[in-house]
Amino acid sequence: MSQKNRLVGGQIDRSRPLSFAFDGKNYEGYAGDTLASALLANDVRLMGRSFKYHRPRGVFSAGSEEPNALVELRSGARQEPNTRATMTELYDGLTAMSQNRFPSLRFDMLAFNDALSSFLSAGFYYKTFMWPPAFWEKLYEPAIRRAAGLGRLSGKEDPDSYDKGFLHCDLLIIGSGPSGLAAALTAGRAGAEVILAEEDVVFGGRLLAEQNLLTEQCGNEWVSDVIGELSSLPNVRLMTRTTIFGQYDHGIFGAVERVSDHLPEPPADKPRQILWRIYAKRALLAAGATERPITFENNDRPGVMLAGAMRAYANRWAVTASTDIAIFTNNDDGHRTAWDLDAKGVNIAAVIDSRMDTPSSTEFEVLSGAQILDSHGRLGLRSVKVRLKDGSTREISCGALGLSGGWNPNVHLACHKRGRPVWNETISTFVPASSGDHLLRIAGAAAGIFSTHGALHSGAEEAVKALNDLDVSAHVPELPEAEDAPVKITPFWYVKSGKGRAWLDLQNDVTVKDVQLAHQEGFRSVEHMKRYTTLGMATDQGKTANVGALALLAELEGKTITEIGTTIFRPPYTPVSMGTFAGRSRGKDFRPYRLTPSHKWAAEQGAVFVEAGNWLRAQWFPTQGETHWRQSVDREVLAVRKSVGACDVTTLGKIDVQGADAAEFLNHIYCNGFAKLPVGKVRYGLMLREDGLAMDDGTAARLAEDHFVVTTTTANAVPVFRHMEFYRQCLWPGLDVQLISTTEAWAQFAVAGPNARKLLQKVIDPAYDISNEAFPYMACGEITVCGDLRARLFRISFSGELAYEIAVPTRYGDALIRRLMEAGKEFDITPYGTEALGVLRIEKGHAAGNELNGQSTAAMLGMGRMVSQKKDSIGRVLAGRPYLQREDDYRLVGLKPVNSKETILAGAHLMTAGDTVNAANDQGWVTSAAYSPHVGSSIALAFLKNGEARHGGMIRIVSPLDNLDIEGEVTSPHFIDPEGDRLRV
């Protein structure tokens, strides 16, 4: 039978029938339906299996608080697990599958967990799967994860895109029920910049779900009038399908707009969702309230749902979960459901009210002072067992049961900044603390003002106050006449009876007994109880469960709910997809590369690239016939040592230091002296942190009395600049010195090898003499190349060869490398990449990132004597700490394997032969290792205890992870030209 449970009326579009499939079976619904309402219309109550016990479950709510009806929506790469059927708009061709069952929803083999329930109590996993520890990862966890859990990921890449956006406004209004709309009207008319955000598909909130909230007008009509006016105001931004999920500091709100979730797939030019960061001068929380259930034995059968949700299904979607319903309530609001459904022709089997003093009805039976003891029906509710006022019991047949235990204001956003709600005894619920943040006001049901009249007026009045704060004058508009019924409730949380299980948290399968057991075992703080039982976790965050559990805990502790308090509220209010947070930062865009000026040229040469910091650098340049990277790298290294090579070193940080006090500034920043560096000279500089450990090294070139160019390592370009700015601004604000990063401004190439000068002489304009006499080792200067192109030349060497670094404005970098290659043909110029660069510097014994790892001192690097004691420099004082000055500290040494066929690996540790390999006997570690074509074997740099005195000795090089255990010889770290003759020719 098609849509057996469809009622009259409602706000669905009957002229647009839609077909959809659930678990492979086809159904029909209407435009305006959610997946949940359409399934109910088709008499489908069973929608899922529970997390732990695989109990049959049906839809429980009509909104974002849904704990049960979670489905896998769509298929293929767009399959989305844990989608709430209550929040899924129906579209034609929608497909959804139930989850957490095998092989089918009606027959789930894993339901045997339910039979084992007495063993699966709170803390079961903690207690049972402790031993042996090794079993956890391999055996227990995978098995548990298969059996328990929610939906499955598709495992495929998400084909859709997600965007991020920024919005600013005077007043952000969260929620568009009576209070939100009244506030929007007030603020919109006052001319303020307003954002009205609604998580639902349409505006109106409970006005859409209820009958007769307004006394002289239909709720829908007033909503469309107000929205009509607001849409005409240019200062109002209306956002549906938009959840404000978090309040952050200083008026910043996180929002997710579901742009295309209601479509089979996003249109070509639209993202699926947008993450909005909203900067609001003021905000108004008008998020309404969530109903809470009453707990009793077997209260989780499909068909058991919140009474307010039942009413919403009937009034908005013209659907009932069954043709025979019952209500279990402790307050007057529960009776409304009976009235509304009775008016729609649904049979009201009974209204079971735990109070003695209840409203009466001529249309249906009201059982006052009654409680539900149990329910029956395996895959869906068939009947409930009621204990009447006189103590007798009665079985009442019904296919659906509405629960009304009172309403909890949606205080979440008001508590994201650590505020806690307070218990209001009169209306028996938590309301936001009155001493809230002045940036966020609260109106309507979210503030515990439950009547429609109260909500409308509080919305308008709070908007006026918020705008007055901003010096915008605003007035309460004329508002419609509305019901103003007081809250009549007698708290009643759970039925005390029997031995069966009564569910508090449907999503996590937490029962009354679990909370009692947790309490008995000492988990008495509400935060401990939450973590031990998992109550209030997962996708619904216990929106329908938490307060009931707090009441139970209060009873167990003999305290009031106020004394028990709530757990901390944290964003997000409802789940947000990871894809939304990632936005466009996916794949390559997650971490974009920076390209060097010679990148295009290098790619043309077939270079292999590597990520270095955030740069993509050429790693080596394979030539024809080379099948292994070592062949290319060895060739490049030998070519540099024999003739000449060129390498793009643009990635090194460059900082321009200018001003009358530039030299004095650098003298403070570097541990070695810079005050007396002559113009036209470069000096190596070592920078310490204030704690005395090495931070970075580089060179500083003095181009003029008041102008230096400082270089940093590639990785530290940003931190060093920050560090220098800190000292300039915070410690020596009186110095006349200015800094600017010019890393991007200059393309820089190392030209290294015995023929480097001959090559450069062909490129540098003849006016500049770069002979050894005119431009000796460590000279620098501003020159021109290729006919009047301004350039900088530094005679510095990382490779240990006669070498220069030449810099031109970045846009000429590509032209310069091509010119160098052309001019270098006669010297067989060889481009080299970062691997060869590394081999060359290890052969020369230069420290790099592996040695400057934040744990090494100048002394360890063999530069202890560089730290000038004649001046104050950053780090000098604490570098002098006795421990850092000890004689047997680590020193940088070289290593060679005794057997030249063996390979040393970086990360290996050094041991004295004969010692047991353990941490206590550790003598040091290998920092950098490479094959040296110059030496003809593997070589390495290492930190070795008392290493300076151990040159020529033997050491055991061990890496148990790599099965490495070889004998090595300790050497000087300079494998080539220790006297530095090659540099100075």
Binding site: Y248, D249, H250, G251, I252, Y279, K417, D661, E664, E690, D691, V718, R722, E725, F726, Q729, C730, L731, W732, P733, G734, L735, D872, R876, V877, L878, G880, R881
Partner: protein
């Protein structure tokens, strides 16, 4: 958080890099007899108040100024923002 930059107006804290306690500005005299102890205290002994705190923020994605931000670390309320160089000068720092 939003930091009200003295030159640029309100800026999102994402544009900044946090360093720590503004007492780093009060660097001891490195040439004093007691320098080793003074620097130890300067670098390693910091107050950790649950309340108002003066701290250093660097506007790295902006104008590169260091700021001294007075922030209540329990509420994130920011009560004062000034250029670190102005603050440092007032504390007697010069060259």
């Amino acid at each position: 958080m939003i930091i009200n930059h003295p030159l640029l107006g309100p800026r999102d804290s994402q544009e900044f890099v946090y360093l720590g306690d503004a007492s780093l500005i009060d660097r001891p005299n490195a040439m004093a007899e007691t320098a080793l102890d003074d620097f130890h205290d300067y670098l390693y002994l910091r107050d950790n108040p649950a309340g108002s705190h003066k701290e250093l923020w660097f506007h790295e994605q902006g104008d590169r100024s260091w700021l001294v931000v007075t922030r209540d670390v329990t509420t994130h309320e920011i009560t004062d923002v000034e250029l670190a160089s102005d603050y440092a000068k007032r504390r007697g720092r010069d060259r």
